[in-house]
Amino acid sequence: MKKHIIMTIMLFLMILIVLTGCGKSNNEKQKTMRVGVVLYTQDDAFINALTDCLKHYFEEMEDENLKIIMTVRDGKDDQSVQDDVVEGMIDAGCDVLCVDLVDRTAPSKIIEMAKKEDIPIIFFNREPVREDLMQWDKMYYVGGDAEQSGIMQGEIAADVIHADEGCDKNGDGRIQYVLLEGEAGHQDAIIRTDSVVKTLMDNNVKLEKLSYQFANWNRAQAENKMTQLIEQYGEEIELVLSNNDEMALGAVAAYDSMGYPEEKRPIIFGIDGLSDVLVAVEEGQIQGTVYNDKEGQARQMAKLAVDLYKGNSLTGYDFKDEKYIILSYKKVDASNIKEYIIDDTGAAK
């Protein structure tokens, strides 16, 4: 009888060992982290470049214990579409959401859905209203400071104008300018516009505004709008201030297609530091841009997403108000363009 009991206990222990062994091997399996990246549109060159960087940093953070699947979806410039996209992503299984809102004032549905499933959200590029961001402790914002970009654009433009009297083509002591603005009512567009104009005036540049046009951050729209402006004002335009690089490229394209010789063109300034604009700065078609640190933003987003997924401490982050990671812009003009142009080997020229 005793023998039977001992045998039974041994058998039980063996089964227990086998079972716990299996459990351990399961734990050792590679974990998969799913990141849902939802853009406001897939037609924004800066956002696409930032998304490529994000993908790159997530790939760098993979190891034998962690596989990261990053899925990018398009909000199609429509908040209700973006809400549906987020709903579908959560339904299919998602660990962290990175959202570039279509409408920065309307994140409620996304927040509600994510909160219900306990999925952290990293907003980027378009900053949600502060009260919304403070609703839940698992929401963050990574981006640049719109005011700083406008100030820097103004400073570069002022330097160029002071350095070259020829910018004032008609010699009236004033710079006649046009503005290419992002979207009507868009926070970044308003802040960039206000701060660039104020900075120019603070730097003793006398300005005369000829006109402004909204081109929705888009190159083709900017080309159309700029063509209209050129037809209306011709050589009166001495300065083009654009809320982003895509629209600055649109302005260049408008002058190109109208066959304007270089000496008759105004000085043009953008914001973002897109590779095409860096080339244009090097070639003298655009006089300056403000580099929006997409690499830095993507690196912070990737790191934060992984830490949130793993439940790591977030003490190493330079948070502002425990929610915001704000990266600095950098000025780019002819004097430092070589630091930003990357050659075929991936190194700065």
Partner: protein
């Protein structure tokens, strides 16, 4: 008096029976939605826009709960199997799958098809038989275009532009992912169409998840014609059109996105062959809905229509109707 009471009682009973009948219809006729998982590579990519539109439309019609899995690159059968296993744990009733590259995928999907209904889209599971016969296909149910025909049509278009003779002309081929059924069939279709044309195939390369086609193309000899059989490679190439603008290379492509149509309109390619991706999405759900409805239903293969587009065709009513599904 008694008769009146009896009539009243019978009427009451009848009314109660009718009420119970309708109540039961309301409460018991609502069947739970069937859950269908869709596994395609880079599921958020715009190349799937029309396909997803078709899926969603049919899912609404057939009351199917669609789960479009969050994916990026699916490089091999192991990765695809992991995605499938996750969805099996997610109470999925059926699958719509784009077969991953590799010869081992067929076996894995066949085993899955023994457990749950499976429809393959866009790319068939590769079988060893293809080495002997390019038209060989898997035994799984397929809803996809005839990829061989798409390659063949592209070849015919190059011929058409040259009076059926390409004597002394050179061609470069940019294929899709290696070890995929659709890539092999498109390449073979193209070669068969040009077999007696006198055209010299100077080189062939394949797009991959980890390589940038433009980087490879830089080192390739200039050719008269470039046949691009993969949407991503085609878009990449047209985006960087300036790098091929130095020569007179004419581009012919197979595309599945509105961006490729945009580049056709821009004149960055001569001709574009497209599949009815909306139809592929709609028909795949339609077929799976029938399978889920009745156990005796045997699913059918569907061959999806293809269209050949030239720049001048883009704004015709018929083409616009077709392209509407890509928005």
């Amino acid at each position: 008096m008694k008769k009146n009471k009896l009539t009243f009682l019978i009427a009451e009973i009848l009314l109660a029976a009718i009420a119970i009948f309708f109540a039961s219809r309301i409460f018991f006729s609502e069947k739970p939605q069937k859950r269908v998982a869709v596994i395609i590579d880079n599921s958020g990519d715009e190349k799937w826009n029309a396909f997803v539109n078709g899926l969603k439309q049919a899912a609404d019609t057939y009351n199917i709960h669609l789960i479009i899995c969050n994916t990026d690159e699916i490089e091999n059968g192991t990765e695809e199997k992991n995605l499938i296993n996750e969805q099996l744990d997610n109470d999925i009733d059926a699958f719509i799958i784009q077969a991953a590259p590799g010869y081992d995928v067929h076996q894995m999907l066949t085993e899955l098809a023994d457990q749950k209904p499976v429809i393959l889209v866009a790319n068939d599971a590769l079988t060893e038989n293809i080495v002997e016969n390019i038209h060989a296909a898997s035994t799984l149910t397929k809803v996809m275009p005839d990829n061989y025909k798409m390659g063949y049509e592209l070849g015919e278009e190059i011929l058409k532009d040259n009076g059926a003779s390409l004597n002394g002309k050179t061609l470069g081929i940019v294929g899709g992912l290696l070890e995929t059924d659709c890539t092999m069939k498109r390449q073979q279709g193209l070669k068969d169409a040009l077999a007696d044309s006198g055209c010299v195939i100077s080189w062939e390369i394949n797009a991959g998840y980890d390589n940038n086609v433009m980087d490879i193309l830089k080192w390739k000899a200039e050719v008269d014609y470039l046949a691009v059989l993969d949407n991503e490679a085609l878009v990449q190439l047209c985006e960087r059109e300036q790098s091929i603008a130095n020569n007179d290379t004419l581009v012919y492509g197979i595309g599945t996105s509105i961006k490729s149509v945009y580049y056709l309109d821009e004149g960055r390619m001569e001709c574009l062959v497209m599949a009815d991706a909306y139809g592929m999405g709609y028909d795949s759900v339609d077929e799976i809905a029938k399978v889920l409805k009745g156990s005796v239903y045997k699913p059918d293969d569907h061959v999806i229509d293809t269209v050949v587009l030239r720049k001048e065709d883009i704004f015709t009513e018929e083409t616009q109707k077709f392209l509407y599904t890509y928005e």
